[in-house]
Symmetry: D2
Subunit: 156 residues, 4 copies
């Protein structure tokens, strides 16, 4: 199997797991907009159910923490795959659920979550044998930085 094929299979697995098989991500409408390993992105549209303050029409803080948590999970999985291309692969096509655990999450709420749509990005800043740490960002449709975050995962 070529690396290109492996990457396509990883992309397929990540989409299958995170978009389709995780009910909460479906509830919130989170989509993997890019699975480029160098710049993966999650996108979601503003919807009435995601509002936290109806007078100000802004995202609930929980939506922001949820998408940053997911973004961290995605970049950690991509980094694990870079180390071991068998990661997340199944022979029979059924999704292999990740065996990683969030240790903690910090979110800095920088600006009100206002916009028609939002996009999260992230990167792994530490990938150890046991611990991974990711940094994440959320921007709105005008490129405003809405929030940043940091999350630690146990990976081994």
């Amino acid at each position: 199997m070529t690396t290109k094929q492996q990457r396509e299979q990883l992309a397929h697995q990540l989409r299958s797991i995170f978009e389709e098989h995780v009910p909460f991500n479906r509830l919130l409408g989170f989509k993997l907009a890019s699975l480029d390993p160098k710049n993966p992105r999650i996108r979601f549209d503003m919807r009435p159910e995601l509002i936290g303050n109806p007078q100000r029409q802004i995202l609930h803080g929980g939506v922001i923490s949820s998408v940053l948590d997911l973004m961290a999970g995605v970049v950690v999985h991509i980094a694990l795959f870079e180390k071991d291309s068998e990661h997340l692969m199944s022979r029979d096509g059924r999704p292999v659920f990740p065996n990683i655990g969030t240790i903690d999450l910090r979110v800095d709420y920088l600006r009100p979550g206002r916009g028609a749509w939002f996009e999260a990005s992230g990167e792994v800043v530490r990938m150890g044998k046991r611990i991974a740490v990711a940094h994440m960002q959320l921007e709105n449709d005008t490129g405003e930085l809405i929030a940043t975050g940091s999350a630690a995962y146990v990976v081994g």
Copy 2:
């Protein structure tokens, strides 16, 4: 108006705002189970949509961060009311939306979010003129501590 009346009105306002008028809290099913100012509690039932890992049947990390964020907002509002009983009160019965902002949130994920229902509690550990800080906990139906958190708010 007596203090008892004021407290009842505060409880009514908090319920109206947080349960009914915040769409995201309705989506997740968060309920103010107790508005005792000394021990307010938020409760929610496990539901399929709140699942983060379908193999392990546990809560999504985003549900946990969302309920802790809400819990912090509730205890901060109660503490603001203790300082100024006019806080959140409207003369015409319409909800007065809070004018506070989350600065940041940290969540420690201690144990898998497994259970039939969950209950959050919290307390304000600092109430300044400009900044409030709250600590929060989430337990499951067997009393296991699932997560703890800390949040800072700008209140003035």
Copy 3:
């Protein structure tokens, strides 16, 4: 060897390591005031070198984060000893340095660090096979809560 003896040996080891053999703790003057496993405490005196703001005569934020970091290390070591009484024990009396690593630390600065002396306390809220999480507090000589913190450690 009895449990009482083991505890005394643990106390001796902890003092030896943390007070004498860690140069930075000596520089700051941190002392293990109590090694009661149920309520260990670190104490230090205000000294001119620990000042962060000379006009206000308050502790530097770094002193506060340093003592909370140490407090977390101490409670994690005590908890590891409760699980495995051979932890930190050496046969020849030389200190056995801990093989744990701090993953991250959060400090909430609640009140100005003013006082003649300060005392830190803490507790382990999660002790897993690989990860431990501790909560910590710092009070001044009048019992004011100066800061709280949370730290995650890799322990296995």
Copy 4:
């Protein structure tokens, strides 16, 4: 007074305050290596007193949190000066101590603090009327990323 003069005066004030008048920074040997507003840097040398683990010869976690805390303070002050060039200026040459307060700090410890010297950098990611948030990094002499951090300040 020209902008260039103002910047030089700011640099002089920052050095005077943070290096000379804050006893704890002197104790740890923190130096403002660059006061370029676009890329300010703090540098310090490894010294025996800064060791946290004598077997591994690495920095104490408290040294890392202390320098990141200071770095955040420096970038916040520079950003306040960009908004209001009278900030930190005194007419008689005596240092004007900043009137900002740290709300909280998070540090991610990514790699062991090993090196002959270390350099911190940082940036303000939010400058509001009341709240500022900074991100910080610490690298060693080989450019390894040792730690990252995030801090919130009350500024107004």
